[in-house]
Amino acid sequence: MEFGWSEGDRKFRQDLAKFLEEALPEDWEEVSKDGPGSDAQAAFSKEFSGKLAERGWLTQHWPSEYGGSDAPPWRHAILSEAMWACGEPRGPQYMNVNWIGPAIMEYGSEAQKSEHLSRISRGDVLWCQGFSEPNAGSDLVSLTTRAEPRGDDYLVNGQKIWTSYCQNADFCFLLVRTNPQERRHRGISVLLMPMDLAGVEVREIDAVIGDRYFHEVFLTDVVVPKSCRLGPENEGWAITSYALQFERVGAPRYARAALTVDLLAENAAAGGRLADPNLQEKLGHARALCEAARVLHYRVIDQRTHGLPPSADSNVARIAGTMADLAVGELALEIWGSESLVYGSVGDSNFRASMSAGIATGTTEVNLNLIAQRLLGLPRE
């Protein structure tokens, strides 16, 4: 057990910081105020991820045969941390490099690999995640979007909801039911669906967490070639589980939260308020929550580095991250006071970003269920 960074990791962190200073525009705060899904950020992400790719950083953790450089998971974790801390300039492309690409590497045909992996590693393609449905949230396996075989194609009908990033997406990692007789986990398939097919309709859902966050995707008689199916028919659940096994720590929200706490402290210091012991306690508490989330995330990265199978430790990290995010979101409102009531202000942006921490990509309760069963060995209800 040791907690030091290698020389290479340290240098990478420095190089990255230098790169970010140059690569982020002057008005980055304005561009990023609506989160990675906004039109402005999606557009910027292609330019930015392209630059990361040029330096070999975008997919450095991928195997070299797929455009990576076999870098250890730590390198990618350092990158993810830096990206989230500054508001995710990769936009939605963090999903591509974290789990969509790796799923295609594992299950894709040669044609799919050559089509998608090269584009992803160049940084000029946007994906969205078509999982949730109106009646399939936490209980995702109850999804009913139907893909019926029609010769060389599937005819897809159904509806997805809460889909982030899809207004600008080129492709959707879509979960469909290919066998309606099979219940639950069986009978689900993955389609790598181009978003420009006829019958795909995207509608924005007005939401208080910000503009351009949520969408519905209506699928009406969409003809999707069978060649777009990832892996064997009806095996989609296993593919999705494989793809998402580490994604609970894929978006290090604590990094953003920690930066916000620093900002709060600097702000308080500038206003001469940092001598207030009460404020010191609140800031110290928030910092401790962020640090706990960080070390618990690192633990999962370490398990991945050791080639250990995914465990409930990733749920533990996720809960710690959510706790930090929520606490900092609230503290930001409190410290900035009524100034936070302005849309796009620092307090407001942080609060909106933190609000959904316990829901997006699996709720707090679902994570707690998994910890209770898998880590604590408690019996099912």
């Binding site: 910092r287 070390v295 880590l375």
Partner: protein, 308 residues
């Protein structure tokens, strides 16, 4: 970066676990609680096996001592291992052990005070080392799982402010590790209990309302443990030490509440093991300025930087 134990660490932990399984544990703690004593035999065994010299060792350091401290706490050891093996070495002096810690500006009794031969008294200017003669400390009845005593807070040799700061940071790392081990044991005990206790025809541990709260507590225990290890490996920087202590000390509150709540009435009896760990959590929560003090120390170390 490597979260797995190396071979040396594994060997150390296996050895100390074996020793503790034989010489510590809830039975022994209950016996010593009743007598109000100190486990001189365990202390001697830890020393004989070299566990009190880990900080100064050639191939070992504070991280190994912290791993041992967590284990001692999990086994409810009745020894001042943290203050003696982790905090005292930072003084640069060889102090007669056991060592106890006190704050000058507080009046309450301190852990292991009556058995300590050296008292480290932290005050606003730093720290003083004060030998304790037999009889100088006065044991007092206390219900918080450790032998407590009134100690004199005058006199002693003052160490340099830098050294004092280092020792203060190590006291926070030690506190976090000790809290982590104590919480882990209380939580594990409770998990085992809710799996076998049946009400309404089923194990109470199958109720989701209880499961979620135990799972939350487990997150805080894990966070405390890893923050303590990381701070120890990094040589107790002021900020990381304060972060570990702030996080762990505030976690004790929740773990205390959840473990007692889920053990029901029997959890309050001396016959049931829970109190051996749970009551200690309150003492740890208050130690060295308590949660709020550690939180302020985080702020000072990170954003004010004057001292911590």
């Amino acid at each position: 970066m490597d979260f797995e134990l190396n071979t040396d660490q594994t060997a150390i932990l296996e050895a100390v676990e074996t020793l503790l399984a034989r010489q510590a544990g809830p039975e022994r703690a209950r016996e010593l609680n009743a007598k109000g004593g100190y486990d001189a035999e365990l202390d001697a065994a830890l020393e004989a096996a070299g566990f009190t010299e880990l900080v100064q060792g050639n191939d070992t350091g504070p991280l190994e001592a912290t791993l041992v401290l967590e284990a001692v706490a999990r086994h409810a050891g009745f020894v001042a291992y943290g203050a003696t093996a982790l905090v005292a070495p930072a003084s640069g002096h060889t102090l007669a052990g056991p060592v106890a810690l006190a704050l000058a500006e507080e009046n309450g009794p301190v852990r292991y005070g009556a058995s300590a031969r050296t008292l480290l008294i932290f005050d606003s200017q730093g720290v003083r080392m004060r030998p304790l003669e037999p009889g100088e400390a006065k044991p007092v009845r206390a219900n918080f799982g450790y032998p407590m005593a009134w100690v004199p807070r005058d006199g002693g040799d003052r160490l340099s402010p830098d050294v004092a700061l280092r020792m203060r940071a190590w006291s926070r790392v030690a506190l976090a590790a000790e809290a982590a081990g104590t919480m882990k044991a209380a939580l594990d005990f409770t998990i085992a209990y809710v799996k076998q206790r049946k009400q309404f025809g089923r194990a109470i541990g199958s109720f989701q309302a209880l499961q979620h709260r135990l799972a939350q507590a487990a997150v805080q225990v894990e966070g405390s443990r890893w923050l303590a290890y990381e701070a120890a490996w990094s040589n107790a920087p002021n900020e990381a030490a304060a972060v570990a202590a702030a996080y762990a000390a505030s976690a004790t509150q929740r773990v205390f509440y959840e473990t007692h709540q889920q053990n029901g009435a029997i959890g309050f009896t001396r016959e049931h093991d829970l109190h051996v760990w749970s009551m200690r959590l309150q003492a740890l929560r208050l130690e060295m300025e308590g949660v709020a003090g550690h939180q302020r120390a985080v702020s000072r170390a990170r954003w004010i930087r004057a001292e911590a």
